[in-house]
């Protein structure tokens, strides 16, 4: 499906195997330079009455300040969507994407059955849609919990769904339909995000908690995948080789600096360049990126809120996320632990 790789940060578009299917995305513009990202952020900020300062997120180490989260705004957005009778995220998400309104991360429903699921359209070349989040309630299965339960904790299950262009489930013998590679217009792509892949929700939920790659866990090894938005491929790190967040974060910076600066050798290794590294630090510690991880329960949390050992115990994989996308991802790790104990 998708790789989160439309552009590097100087604005050069990466070509990918996905590109030929990405003509599906209507109104796509492939310009995605940093200025436009800022445009998006400020437009978003204006639309949603957040100031930029508050959207500023940093690669947080324990003890660093993190900005207040404005969850209520997004929670409210999603409550209204809740009332819509579609099993789909209310008003046209593509329309909203174009207008710059963002769906944040919802407050989750307690309990394993009631997680909000949202699809991340990372594949899109629409600059405003890039990384924007579609919240889609989990459909008819949780009607009870959705409307009734108080939203106490933020827990978020993310599905990275590259926009599936005509998915081709061939139904049984009775299927008369040959698949056709021409694609319908935008309304069809909207529907494709919901209901893809065609797997029952119970199984999807089980996968989230079953993401331990057993083969990677030998004695004393704890490999987790680290992906970075915009990077062409991901890396694996052994969490056991680090003793604290400092070591970990500097290792990550080294690993990923080449992607952000756009200066790699042909074999993908970071270029040794003093200027680049300091620029990376600016990027990582500035408003650009935030480091998040997916824990045992399938929730995405900010890195740095819990003690290091607790983190390595529960971390399943990592994602270096654009700061603007991480709005609403609350550092509620401690609260969550308290609730569970």
């Amino acid at each position: 499906m998708s790789t989160p790789l439309e552009h590097d940060y100087i604005g050069l578009t990466e070509t990918s195997s996905m590109e030929r299917s990405s003509e599906k995305i209507s109104s796509s513009s492939s310009s995605s330079s940093i200025p436009s990202i800022e445009d998006k952020t400020s437009k978003t900020a204006n639309d949603t009455c957040l100031n930029l300062k508050e959207t500023e997120l940093r690669l947080g180490l324990p003890g660093s300040q993190s900005p207040e989260r404005k969850l209520s705004l997004f929670g409210k957005d999603l409550e209204t969507n809740d009332n819509k009778s579609n099993g789909f995220a209310g008003s046209s998400p593509l329309k909203n994407l174009v207008s710059g309104a963002k769906r944040g991360f919802s407050d989750a429903i307690d309990g394993s059955n009631g997680k909000w699921v949202f699809a991340m359209n990372c594949k899109s070349e629409v600059e405003l849609a890039k990384g924007a989040v579609l919240a889609s309630p989990r459909g008819g299965l949780d009607s009870k919990t959705n409307s009734q339960q108080a939203k106490t904790s933020v827990s978020v299950m993310k599905e990275v769904v590259g926009v599936p262009q005509s998915p081709k489930p061939v139904q049984d013998k009775n299927n008369l339909v040959p698949p056709v590679n021409e694609h319908a217009s935008a309304p069809a792509s909207k529907a494709q995000v919901v209901g893809w892949p065609p797997i029952r929700s119970f199984r999807k939920n089980n996968m989230a908690s079953n993401l331990t790659k057993n083969s990677d866990e030998g004695a004393g090894c704890l490999y987790v995948k680290v992906s970075m938005d915009g990077a062409p491929y991901l890396r694996k790190v052994d969490l056991k080789t680090y003793n604290n967040y400092m070591e970990f974060s500097s290792a990550l910076e080294k690993m990923f600096s080449c992607f952000t600066i756009g200066q790699c050798n042909s074999n993908g290794l970071p270029a040794r360049d003093g200027l680049s590294e300091s620029r990376l630090m600016d990027l990582l510690h500035g408003s650009e990126y935030v480091l998040t991880y997916e824990d045992k329960d399938g929730d995405w949390m900010l890195v740095g809120d819990v003690p290091w050992e607790m983190f390595t115990d529960s971390c399943r994989r990592l994602r270096i996320m654009k700061g603007s996308e991480a709005i609403g991802l609350a550092p509620r790790a401690m609260e969550k632990c308290k609730n569970q104990n």
Binding site: M1, S85, N175, N181
Partner: protein
């Protein structure tokens, strides 16, 4: 009973009209027809003549309703006065994938109210994709003193409190089968609601509930229900606990284990292996949550007679599954995760010649960064070794036209062919051509006289396609078209031409008024339904 024989009898019967009544009383006919179980045969019987129609309706004890809106409970009750078992299906299949609005309908309660009045001796209720509330479950539990079997699959709207009501009130319960549902799992205390005197349970399936249950209660329940033959546990039951249960229930025919990974001592492992080896009757094995390869050998001796193995919650590697399958020569149905890869599927082809059904699920469908899983090669390998294969669900990363052609040639009996290429829009990765040829190999494009359900998603078919099947739709159960190019006008035309069809359109907010985003068409003698939510228009 052969329907041809019945038809011959009909001829001779009709020519001796008055003599027939005294020589072949209705009661006898009913007695004979009572033995007829197949629905198709029963339908044929009911068409012979009026007397046979009546004899059939009086002797029928089980009714299967494939679409709850095709008929009303009153009509069912009028025609079949002696029903003891009902199977009902409600929402269209794509509701499993969140393509149907939450409040779409298919509520069981109206049916239960009629049943309580007309079928007070109802024993069995099997529901699929119906909406059922805790209140309805409680109503069910108290309204039918003979109630014996409840099976729920893909239903929603209820919680474990509803199960508690069933456990509390149904004194004669034999079967409680809770499959994948949208259940609000509040806790495991429902299990403790079975009275201490209760011993009749034969089927207990709570594998898809996530809450912990009280193991002590479970152990006692299993211990006193001596006829238990199906036991499917949830994740909260450990390997050690499994061993204790098995010691008391060696006659199990179907076992769903709990979590299959735990630190076991050598002795504990041997005890488990021993307990499993005593299950000589086991034909179905599932659960195996998070199964670790090192413990699989404990299963080997239990697998000799296995016909259905569900490994779809165990991320096994090819070598592990190959070793296990070497002990499963009689396997007919196999569900696995794509972690077994093509090599694992080769082992399927080599070891399981009797295989009829294969489902390969993606272990991590949203993880597209690393290429893994199964490809066309795995499917082809299975088809060479398993000529009886007829039902496949296959999530893969790539496929070719040639592979599909080979598969279909090796396995001529296909009834269900469900292929899901995880990178949609991918052409044949070898020839770069669209996958049209593959579908020509599998389907007959014109014809399909036995077509019963047709489901089309995200294809550019429009009104012409919709209207071309006009004559077909009344002989089909249903048609679903979503994200196609069908318009409201096309649907209106269909509704006008075919009065026996309900044409329902589900609109999505913000979409073009003239587009029919999702269309669900089905035959019905109950007329348009009255309980549709605002987002569903009946034309």
């Amino acid at each position: 009973m052969e329907t041809s024989e019945l038809k011959r009898s009909k001829d001779s019967v009709n020519s001796y009209e008055s003599a027939r009544r005294s020589s072949f009383p209705d009661e006898v006919l009913e007695r004979v027809l009572f033995l007829l179980k197949s629905h198709r045969d029963r339908s044929s019987v009911s068409l012979v003549c009026k007397d046979w129609y009546n004899a059939e309706r009086w002797s029928r004890t089980h009714v299967f309703i494939g679409n709850c809106y095709s008929v009303s409970p009153e009509i069912v009750a009028r025609r079949f006065p002696r029903i003891r078992s009902v199977t009902l299906k409600g929402k269209p299949r794509f509701s499993d994938f969140n393509l149907v609005p939450e409040n779409w309908g298919a509520d069981i309660h109206a049916w239960l109210v009629v049943f309580a009045a007309k079928f007070p001796f109802l024993e069995e209720l099997r529901l699929k994709r119906m909406a059922i509330s805790d209140e309805s479950l409680e109503f069910l539990a108290v309204s039918f003193p003979n109630f014996k079997a409840l099976s729920l699959l893909s239903c929603d709207g209820f919680s474990t409190n509803g199960l508690a009501a069933i456990a509390t009130h149904c004194k004669n319960l034999i079967e409680l089968d809770i499959q994948e549902n949208g259940i609000d799992d509040i806790g495991g205390s429902w299990l403790s609601c079975f009275p201490e005197s209760f011993t009749t349970l034969e089927v207990l399936n709570f594998a898809n509930l996530t809450s912990d249950i009280n193991f002590d209660t479970l152990e006692k329940l299993v211990g006193r229900c001596k006829s238990m033959r199906v036991l499917k546990l949830n994740r909260s039951v450990s390997l050690e606990q499994l061993q204790r249960l098995l010691v008391n229930a060696p006659r199990l025919a179907e076992l769903g284990t709990g979590l299959f990974s735990q630190e076991l001592t050598i002795r504990e492992y041997e005890e488990l292996e021993s307990a499993l080896s005593h299950c000589k009757n086991m034909h179905t094995l599932s659960g195996l949550w998070d199964a670790k390869g090192i413990y699989l050998p404990a299963l080997y001796l239990a697998c000799t007679h296995l016909t259905f193995l569900n490994l779809s919650y165990a991320a096994l590697q090819s070598v592990e599954v190959a070793k296990l399958l070497a002990h499963c020569p009689r396997l007919k149905r196999l569900w696995v995760l794509d972690t077994v890869e093509d090599k694992g599927l080769e082992a399927v082809g080599l070891n399981c010649p009797l295989l009829e059904e294969l489902r390969v699920f993606p272990a991590d469908p949203f993880d597209d960064e690393i290429v893994h899983g199964v490809t066309d090669a795995g499917f082809v390998a299975v088809s060479f070794g398993c000529p009886r294969l007829h039902y496949v669900l296959y999530f893969c990363s790539q496929m070719t036209n040639a592979a599909v052609a080979t598969i279909v040639q090796n396995c001529p009996d296909f009834t269900h062919f469900r292929l899901c290429i995880m990178n949609p829009g991918q052409p044949d990765y070898l020839t770069n051509e669209p996958m049209d040829e593959a579908f020509g190999a599998v389907c007959v494009l014109s014809g399909c006289p036995k077509l019963r359900k047709l489901e089309i998603r995200d294809c550019p078919f429009g009104n012409a396609a919709l209207l071309s099947g006009l004559e077909k739709y009344e002989s089909m159960r249903s048609l679903w078209m979503s994200a196609c190019n069908v318009t409201m006008n096309g649907c209106r035309l269909l509704a006008r031409e075919m009065p026996w069809l309900n044409v329902e359109v589900m609109k999505e907010d913000g979409s073009d008024d003239s587009q029919a985003d999702k269309v669900y068409v089905y035959r019905s003698i109950a007329g348009p339904r009255r309980d549709s939510p605002p987002s569903v228009l009946t034309l």
